[in-house]
Amino acid sequence: MFGRGLKIFSLLSAVLVTGAFALAFFYAPEDADQGLRQKIFYVHVPLGIVTLAGFVAGGIYAVRFLRSGDRAHDLRSYVAIHMSLIFGVGALLTGSLWAKAAWGSWWVWNEPTLVSFLIVFLLYACYQPLRFSIEDPGRQARYAAVFACVGGAFVPLNFMAVRLAQPLIHPRTLSSTANLPGSVSFTFLVALVAMAVLFTTLCKYELASKTAAMQLRSIRRRLSGEDISPLADPSRRSAAPQRL
């Protein structure tokens, strides 16, 4: 069901990610102030932006699930948030490394973008425990969707509140691209697109694998004729949606 286009997406993301790295190292100019260390910009910022976009996408799929009741949307919402959490860890780690290199400390509290990202990350870290602690699959899907909607609205509001509370050191990437030299903003855009395509590809892989596992389970169940639903066996419970 979700397997279509996987090959093209895989090729495209391999080409784009390699291209973005090549551009970052060979085409974009070296930063006068930070030198080679500034190159992490082309990984860190796209990671952060794609993570937040993934959280919001999870919220949008959740709205669609609540409106239509189609479990495929619940699965999409779950996968988007799950993948965003993984990308979010990457963004936090690369950000921390860069902060150590550029500002001299691993974590900076007076930095609104960092702090609001952490708050959003902590909120979404509860998504899986919430799903895991609800046993009934229908209720699990509905409650997780409500959480995802609230989270999706929380992302922009939280950024606004934290940003107002503190002075700015962190550059506003998207609004200040006008001041960057053309080669830097071109490389950045390629890196952003590459990261977004990579995110989509990984999501498609997870969706395909999850649906394949579901189909396999239902075929097995039909063959053996007995109930081996995940609810019957507590050791096989998972936070992920189990049925479409």
Partner: protein, 224 residues
């Protein structure tokens, strides 16, 4: 709708008056927290942003206790089933519970703010009280709205007591920022500073956004 809401609110207030569960726990918790802060910070008095931070963290944690208790009786005593049998709009439950939580918070804060002024606060509270009340009410509305949503979300899970703080704390960070920043100048030494309008705007925006969102989403949290 109005009749259903007022019936539900009356029921909850009556249950609270008979049991005395949530509000006394919240008030006792705030006073104990102030004592803890006194020893933890090793200060006789607090002022300015430190006072505001201590006050708001304490109130936020006390609100978590209220959120945790809000739906427990409905689930354990079959209140949800009875409510779903009644031919009323389901959002009535949300409005009623949010009003009840708001009321609990206000009552608890009457004691908590008085205790704070007596025990910890350096400068007098008299002059800044009207502005502080405004900040308190706006923040309470936000806490009541997300508290009702999170409480309803968590009460059906197996790990209720863990889910409420885990979700409610990050969600209320914008509220805490705005409320603490707005009340810091009010509690400053040497006369209250002016109240910054943008924090009130953030509080009001938060209340409106999450109020509408919870209003729209609450139906899905009740069983069919």
């Amino acid at each position: 709708m109005r009749a259903a809401v007022s019936a539900l609110v009356r029921k909850d207030l009556q249950a609270e008056l008979r049991n005395l569960e949530a509000v006394p726990a919240m008030t006792l918790f705030t006073v104990s927290a102030f004592v803890l802060f006194h020893f933890g910070l090793d200060r006789e008095t607090l002022q300015g942003d430190l006072a505001s931070g201590v006050l708001w963290v304490t109130l936020l944690l006390a609100a978590l206790l209220g959120m945790n208790r809000l739906f427990v009786t409905e689930r354990e005593q079959g209140g949800f089933d009875a409510f779903l049998l009644a031919p009323v709009d389901r959002t009535a439950m949300f409005v009623a519970k949010a009003l009840v939580l708001f009321g609990f918070l206000v009552v608890a804060e009457v004691v908590a703010v008085a205790a704070f002024a007596l025990l910890l606060l350096g400068p007098g509270l008299g002059q800044a009280l009207p502005e502080l009340l405004l900040v308190l009410l706006l923040a309470d509305a936000g806490l009541a709205v997300i508290g009702t949503l999170v409480g309803a979300l968590a009460v059906q899970t197996r790990a209720r007591d863990l889910i409420v703080p885990l979700i409610a704390l990050p969600l209320s960070v914008p509220l805490l920022i705005a409320a603490a920043q707005a009340s810091a100048p009010l509690l400053a030494e040497g006369g209250a500073g002016p109240l910054a309008g943008r924090w009130l705007a953030i509080l009001a925006l938060y209340d409106v956004v999450f109020g509408l969102l919870s209003y729209a989403l609450f139906d899905y949290l009740l069983e069919d």
